[in-house]
Symmetry: D4
Subunit: 159 residues, 8 copies
C-alpha cells in the first residue's frame, strides 16, 4: 500500500472536516483554504475514493442517550481471519466500531452499546458464535475527540 501524497489543500480540507464535518460546508472550507468550492468538492471526492476518508459520523454520548453500557470487547482471533471477523462482527446488533490491532493476542477491539447487561450478553454470545475469543469487557465513560493536528491547521491559519 503506497500512501497517498497529500498536499496543503488536502490537509486544509481534512482539518476543517475534523473540526466540524457537518457544518463546514464546501464554501466555508473553500474560503478558509483559499481555493474554489469546486476544488474542495473534487478533492473530497478524491480523498474518499482513495480510502482516506471513510464516512462522516456524529460523536454520540450513549449514556446520555439512555444506553448506559458503552463497552469495548478486547478479543483475540487468528490473524488470517481478523479482517473477515472484523467485518462480520460489525453486523451484530449494538456493535458500533471495530479496530484491528497489530498484535497476536488481543488483536481485535469491538465497541458496542447496550441498555442493560442482557444486551451485552447477547452481543458477547454472537461474537463467540463467530469464533471470536473475548478477553475483557471494558466500560467506557466519556469519549473526546479532536482534529489530528498534523493536518493543515497552519494552512487554515494562514488562509
Amino acid at each position: 500500500m503506497v500512501p497517498h501524497e497529500l498536499d496543503e489543500v488536502d490537509r486544509g480540507i481534512l482539518h476543517m472536516l475534523q473540526e466540524d464535518a457537518r457544518n463546514n460546508v464546501a464554501s466555508t472550507i473553500a474560503e478558509e483554504v483559499g481555493v474554489s468550492p469546486n476544488t474542495v468538492r473534487n478533492r473530497m471526492e478524491r480523498l474518499e475514493k482513495a480510502g482516506i476518508i471513510n464516512g462522516y459520523h456524529p460523536q454520540i454520548d450513549y449514556e446520555r442517550a439512555g444506553y448506559q453500557l458503552h463497552v469495548v470487547f478486547v478479543c483475540t482471533v487468528p490473524v488470517s481471519d481478523r479482517k473477515r471477523l472484523a467485518d462480520e462482527s460489525l453486523g451484530i446488533e449494538g456493535v458500533i466500531k471495530v479496530c484491528e490491532v497489530l498484535s497476536g493476542h488481543r488483536n481485535l477491539t469491538i465497541e458496542a452499546v447496550g441498555s442493560d447487561s442482557d444486551d451485552l450478553t447477547a452481543i458477547a454470545e454472537r461474537l463467540e458464535a463467530l469464533g471470536i475469543e473475548i478477553h475483557d469487557e471494558r466500560f467506557l465513560k466519556n469519549v473526546r475527540t479532536q482534529p489530528f493536528n498534523h493536518f493543515g491547521a497552519d494552512v487554515i491559519e494562514d488562509g
Copy 2:
C-alpha cells in the same frame, strides 16, 4: 445524570446522521423521518445542547494518508484526575481521541497518530510529563464504524 428521553423522531435523526453525517442534510433526513426540515434542525440543536451529539467527524484512514503509526496508548491515572488528564492529553500534538474507562488500572486510552517512532516517543514523553502512566502502545490497522442499530432504523424503514 438523568438520561435524555429520546422519541422516535430523535432516533430516526440519529440513525440518519450515523449513516452519513455530512451528506444527509436536514431535508433528506426530514423526508425519511416524516417530519419537516425545521423539526429536524430543532431536534438536532436539542440533541447537541443535551450533550448527546458532540460533533461530527470524518473517519480517516491515517495509514493511507501517510501517517503510518496509528496507536492507542493504554494508560493508568488516579481516578480523581482522570477527567482533567483526559482533557489535558487532548492538547498534545498528534492525539486524536481519549476515552475514560471504568477501571482502576488501564483507565484511560489515548489514540494518537504519527509518521515515525520519534513522533510517538514525543507524545509518550508528554503524556508522562502530565503524570500519566503508560502501560501499552497498541498499533491499529483498520478501523470500521457503523450506525448504532438500536437507533431508529425501523423508523426510517417505515418512513
Copy 3:
C-alpha cells in the same frame, strides 16, 4: 429487562431488611416506614415476585465455624453457557455462591467452603468436569456487608 420502579415505601423496607432481615419483622418495619404491617407484607411479596428480593441469608464466618478454607474460584466459561454452568455449579457440595461477571475471561466466580485441601480439590475437579476452566483460587479471610445506602435510609430517619 425493564427495571421495577421502587417508591419510598419499597426502599424503606429494603433498607430495614438489609439492616436485619430476621429480627426486623413486619411490624417493626411498618412502624419505621410509616405504613401498616399488611402493606409491608404485600410489598415484600411484590418485591420477591419481581425477583428483586431472592431470599434471606445469614452471614456466616466459616473459619470460626471450623471450615478453614473459604475460597473463590475465578473461572472462565463460554458466555453462551455461563447461565447454565452457574446453575449447575451451585449443585456441587461446598459451593455457596456463584456470580456471573460481564467479561470474556474470568466471567464466573464461584465461592466455596471446605475444611481441608482435599475438599477444595474435590470441588475443583467437579467444576472441571462441568467444563469450567479455573484460573485462580483466592482464599477469603473476613467478609463484611452493610445495607446499600441508596435505599431508603432517609425514609427511615424521617419516619
Copy 4:
C-alpha cells in the same frame, strides 16, 4: 483463633437459616431439628456471640431494582492496613460488601452498586482517597447463593 465446636443441633439450625433466614422462625427450626424453640433461640444467640453468625441479609438483584451497575472493585492495600481499610471502605455510599483476600496484590475486594458511571467514579475516588489501589472494576450480572451443604442437611432430613 480456635474454631468453635459445632454439634448437630448447631448445624441443623445453620442449615435452616441458610435456606430461609427470615421465614424459618424459631419454632419451625425447632421442629425440624428436634429440639425446643428455646434451645434454638439459645443456640442462635451463642452462634451470634461467637461471631459465627454475623447478621441476616436479603439477597437483592440490584439491576432489577433500577441500579444497573453492580461492580466488584479488585484492590491492593498493605497487609497491615487491610483490616482497617476494609472497615473504612464499608462507610462509602454505595459499598455493600468487602472481602479480605489472602494474597499480596489484589487482597481486598469491594462490592458496590450504582445507577450510572458517575456513581461508580465517585466510589472509586473515595477508595483512592483512603489509599486503596484499584486494579479492576468487574461488573456482576446475576448472583446466586445456596446453603452450605456440609451443615446439617442430614440432621434436618432425619429430624
Copy 5:
C-alpha cells in the same frame, strides 16, 4: 483427612530433626526432649507411618556442585490429573521436587537441575509429552531452609 494430634514429645522430635536430620541421632534427641531413646525411635516410626515425616534429605547447592541451572517449571494440569502427573513427573531425569498448588492455572511446580540448556529442554519436552503445560521456567540462585518454629523449640529449650 483428620490431622494427626501432635504432643510435646512429637514436636520436640520434629524440631530436633529439622535442625539436623542426620547428626541429631536418637540419643541426642532423647536427651534434649527428656524421654528415652526408645521413645524417640517409636515416635519417629509413628510419625513416618502417619505420613507426617516423608523422608530425610540433604540440602544441596546444585550450582556449587557444577549443575548451573536449577529451575522451577511453573505448570498447569487438569485438577483431576494433578496427583498422577505430579507422580509421573518425578520420574523424569533431573527432576528433584514437585509441589501441587491449590489453584486452577499454575497448579503444579516442578523443580529440576541441569548442567546446560539442553538438559532443561529435554526435561521440558518430557513434561510436555506427559500433557503438562509449562508457563514459566524460573531460575533459582540460593535456597535457604530452617526449622518450622511452631514445632517444639520451647520443649527443647525447657528440656
Copy 6:
C-alpha cells in the same frame, strides 16, 4: 564462583544421602560406594565445607501435622537487597524456606506454614515491614522429592 569438581565417590555419596539422609549411615554408604567409612566421612565433611551440602532435613507434611496452611509467598525485592532480605525473612516465625529467583519481579519466594489465616496475615505483615512486596500467596497441597538422578545412581548400581 568456580564449581567444585565432583568425582564418582562424591556423587555416590550424594546419591545415597538423597535417598535417605538419616538411615544411610556412613558404613552403609561406604559399602555401596566401595570405599571405607572414613572416606565417606571425610568426603562428606569436604562437601559440607564447600557449601555443596547445607544441612539435612526431614520432609514434613504440614497439613497432616495439623498446620493446614502451607503457602508460598511470591515476592519482589530490589536485587541489591535480595540476599539480605532472604536472610532476614528466614527469621520470621512460620517461615521454613526461602529461594532467590533470577528475575526482576517475583524474585524471592518464601515458604511458610500456619494453622489459620491469622498466622499467614502475621507473616505477611512482617514481610511487608521488611520492605518486601508480596504479589501472590500460593497454597501447597502435597510436596514430593526424589534424588537428583545425575548423581551417582550408576556408581551405586555398579558398587
Copy 7:
C-alpha cells in the same frame, strides 16, 4: 527523521553484507551487484554516515564459548529517560545489546551474557542502580539470523 532513499545498488550491497559482512569484500560485492569496487566502498561509507549501517558483528554462541547464561532483561524506564538509560546500560560489564521498545511498560530490553548467577546478579544490581526497573530475566538458548529479504536479493540474482 526522513528515511534515506535506497536504490538497487544500496540494496544489493546490504544484502551481500547481511549474508557475510566479513568475507564478502568490496570486490566480491562489486561483482555481484554489477558496479565497481570503488562504488561499493563509496556507497558503504554513505550508508554508514546515514546511520543505516551501524557496525559489523560476529554472531556468537555464548553457551558454546563457556558463558552458559545468555539472558534478556525486560525492563521499564520513563520514556523521557529511555534513550539515555539505553546508552548507559551498554556500559555495564556483560551487556551486549540494548533495544528500545515502543511501549509504556517493558520498553527497554537488555541482552547480557554471564558465566554464573553471580554475574547476572551483578548486572541486575547495576541496572537497578541506574533506575531501571527489571520485570523479567529471559534465558536464551539459540540465536539465528538471516539477511532481510526485502533487500536486494533480486539484484544479486540478476547481477
Copy 8:
C-alpha cells in the same frame, strides 16, 4: 554440550571481531593480539567450526532505511517443536532473527522488518500457518550493540 575451552588468543580475536567484524582484518587482529595473521585465521576457522562464531552481520537501522516497522513477535510453541519452528520461521520473508527462550509460554521471539502494516500481517499469518501462537508484537526503535566485555579486552590492552 561441553563448552569449548577458550584461551587468551581466542578471546582477543573475539573481542577484536566484536569491535569491528569487517574492518578488523586478520593482520590488524594479529598485531593487537600478538600472534601471526595465520594463527588468527586458523583460530577463526576453529571458532567457526566449533559453532562459537556463526556468521558476521551488519547492524542495520531499518527505520532509517525506509522500513518503518521493526518488530519482535513474542510467541509460544511446543518445546519439542521449538527448534524446528525456529528454523522454519527464518524462511519467512521479512524475518531477520529468531531466538529460542528457555520458558514454557513465550518461548520463541521472532524479529522482523516491514514497511507497512500489511507486511506485518502477512508475516503474522505465515507464522500462524506454521502453528506458532503469537502473543505480542513489540515495536523496536533503536538497537545498540557492543562487544561482550568478558572477552579479551585485557588481552588487547596489554597487546
